[in-house]
Symmetry: C2
Subunit: 409 residues, 2 copies
């Protein structure tokens, strides 16, 4: 087009840069919440799709399957039982709102509670998608440091007291208490009780993101904060992305109707995708509990491969705590490694990793950290990708100083 | 809970009222873009789901099926061919962005172009979902009156000139040119050319919403504005909600990469539901063209039933133009009928209709109008629902003055 129309003068201010054209995933992809394709329960999902469509498929002609905007009732019924068994949560189907992935759940929670200039409390190292949303919303974020048992309650108490002295009431405490992203920690029950006590004392609700809670190696978890709350001050969200399949985009919110009804009122999308909810409900009711151990065994094996490869190729240059579950490892590299500078160099070698500063509100302490996702790559890809990553690190930053014999294909 | 946590003091300002609990659809539902359940191509959708899942289902373990954020490539390939055949649009797969229904498409267009205080031009009688979004965004809306051939170009010219005199450049002209919602008009090709001429003269892009364009009784339509534009100033959106099934939530945007890449950059949802895109692509490539006439015959028959019922029960009290396609009829009732006051009375009788003022930016001229959607109710429901509606109108407003013999079950 010779005289192409110029949209640039019409753009709203403050937009992010234009997207780049997609050029395929890298050969060694250690980013993204992708799952293990071999652990996907494909045959049973196919059977579920067939059965539910034959029985109820004509309902697809009606928005929300005629069942209202909270989502497919059998999936909410499954969740009522699952959340009671696994997380100790007692809730009714009308306290659940199904969403287009847990990202929409986060957007709805933020949509009813946050305005520019508000203050929220989060874990210092935290899910990038949540941090970026808070940044875009112009919210003041207070990061609470973590240790091996998750968010530190002494630091939380200090932060809440500091805010109280300034007359500020935080809009929420956002936490991923059960397999924290990115640290992989699990907040013990006594800390949960303390968090609830502090939150109630300061009149601050808790926003509990339990997306990874199904993926614990020994399947033992503390009760959800939602389950332990006596005042109903916890908004709980979860997802089927990590336990079944991320491309399905089905998440959920569990909250008292008083606040859930406000979120429902700003869900302007005419409903989330119904077919995916139908297939999940049909699959999960009979099979979810059998599937989870199959998946976690596969994930655990990949984590072992990743930790072995790091040991072999990085030696003591890669420090980490073995997580009790999940799909990622939070790795500390030597101080001379600038993870943000490493990113493009690794990408040029066909490897992607998450630079620590993108997963933390403390850019200094996370400068030499990387998040490595291990669910999607094969065992061979993990081994070869980590070997290559060590080469790149050595070339760019001089560490690891000595790389063990590297086998390459 | 005796001491329930009170979220109210923490809510953001300006929120809509809390949602009501869903209590089921009314017996006679003449609202919503629902489709005809009997015309849903269920067997072939089931076959498509089975085939595509067996072939590519493991890709569901990866966000966006490993194919990038613009959506499932085979569905974009289908659209390239379909849009060329039906609408004259020449575009590449990377000029298409698949969305979670066309509502997300509207949100993305608005997201990159609009800020509070901006001005947009729309059709005076217009899709409620678009009007409501513009209201929430705090945008000044100029409504252009329509006649039997859609938006009036003399009025558009005057509006653009009036804005130019005030030094205002509208951010876009939003139009549903092909089976307009709610009037059912189709903008002829000469008016499309004139709209493009005016838009280009004033440097204003056109936002073309073609959601109903497949549902034309004789399947003859003018080329899309996108197809006729020489400068590339048209953003075109469409949907599978009206042609296949609304609960699937699959829409799309077709636009030059320069502006599409800005929309993609604010699509923060980690991708739209992939299973629905996969099933649609597998189904549409071989079957879409055969399905559309089956669907439109069914819709046309329901429209005939609706118009007959209105003639029988309302006589000359219900004025309307028979639309050339679509799923709704825009009906003028006598001036004494206040459609907003009719709504709750009809609802109490088990009938829902769309009050005109909710589908228009001119509340006076739309005061006695209602939109009646006819795709979802059965023929019997249409007949009985209109009979009941006439009774309610007679009781509340004295019109129709005389109701023909009403048969009821």
């Amino acid at each position: 087009m010779s005289s192409a129309f110029d949209f640039a003068p019409l753009l709203a201010s403050g937009l992010p840069a234009a997207a780049e054209r997609f050029s395929g995933l890298p050969a060694y992809n250690f980013t993204g919440g992708h799952n293990d394709p071999d652990a996907l329960p494909l045959d049973r999902l196919i059977d579920a799709a067939d059965a539910v469509l034959r029985r109820e498929g004509r309902n697809l002609a009606t928005y929300n399957l005629s069942g209202g905007p909270q989502g497919y009732l059998p999936l909410r019924q499954f969740l009522v039982g699952k959340l009671a068994r696994d997380a100790g949560i007692s809730c009714a189907t009308d306290e659940i709102l199904l969403t287009s992935g847990s990202l929409q759940a986060i957007d709805l929670v933020n949509g009813v509670l946050l305005a520019r200039g508000d203050t929220v409390i989060i874990e210092q190292d935290c899910y990038q998608g949540s941090i970026n949303r808070l940044t875009r919303l112009g919210v003041d974020v207070i990061g609470i440091p973590l240790d091996r048992d998750g968010m530190r309650m002494d630091a939380l108490a200090s932060a809440l007291e500091g805010l109280a002295r300034r007359g500020i009431r935080a809009k929420y405490i956002y936490t991923i208490p059960t397999v924290q992203n990115p640290t992989g920690t699990i907040l013990p029950e006594d800390r949960r009780a303390e968090m609830l006590r502090l939150a109630e004392a300061h009149g601050v609700p808790i926003f509990e993101d339990d997306c990874y809670a199904d993926l614990i190696w020994d399947h033992r978890r503390p009760p959800a904060l939602h389950a332990m709350s006596r005042s109903g001050n916890v908004i709980h969200i979860g997802s089927f992305s990590k336990s079944v399949a991320p491309a399905l985009r089905v998440g959920y919110i569990v909250a008292p109707w008083a606040i859930l009804s406000r979120m429902l009122a700003i869900k302007f999308d005419a409903g989330s995708g119904a077919l995916e909810q139908m297939v999940l409900a049909e699959y999960c009711a009979p099979h979810f509990d059998d599937h989870v151990p199959v998946l976690t065994r596969a994930l655990r094996a990949k984590l072992d491969t990743l930790m072995e490869a790091l040991g072999e190729h990085f030696g003591t240059a890669a420090e980490f705590e073995a997580p009790k579950g999940g799909i990622f490892l939070w790795v500390k590299l030597p101080d001379q490694v600038d993870a943000l500078a490493l990113y493009p160099k690794a990408l040029a070698a066909g490897i992607t990793v998450n630079p620590g500063p993108e997963w933390s509100v403390d850019k200094a302490s996370s400068r030499s950290r990387i998040r490595l996702c291990f669910a999607s790559p094969s065992h061979d890809e993990i081994r070869n990708g980590i070997a290559r990553l060590a080469e790149v690190c050595h070339r760019e930053f001089g560490v690891p100083a000595r790389i063990a014999n590297i086998t390459r294909e």
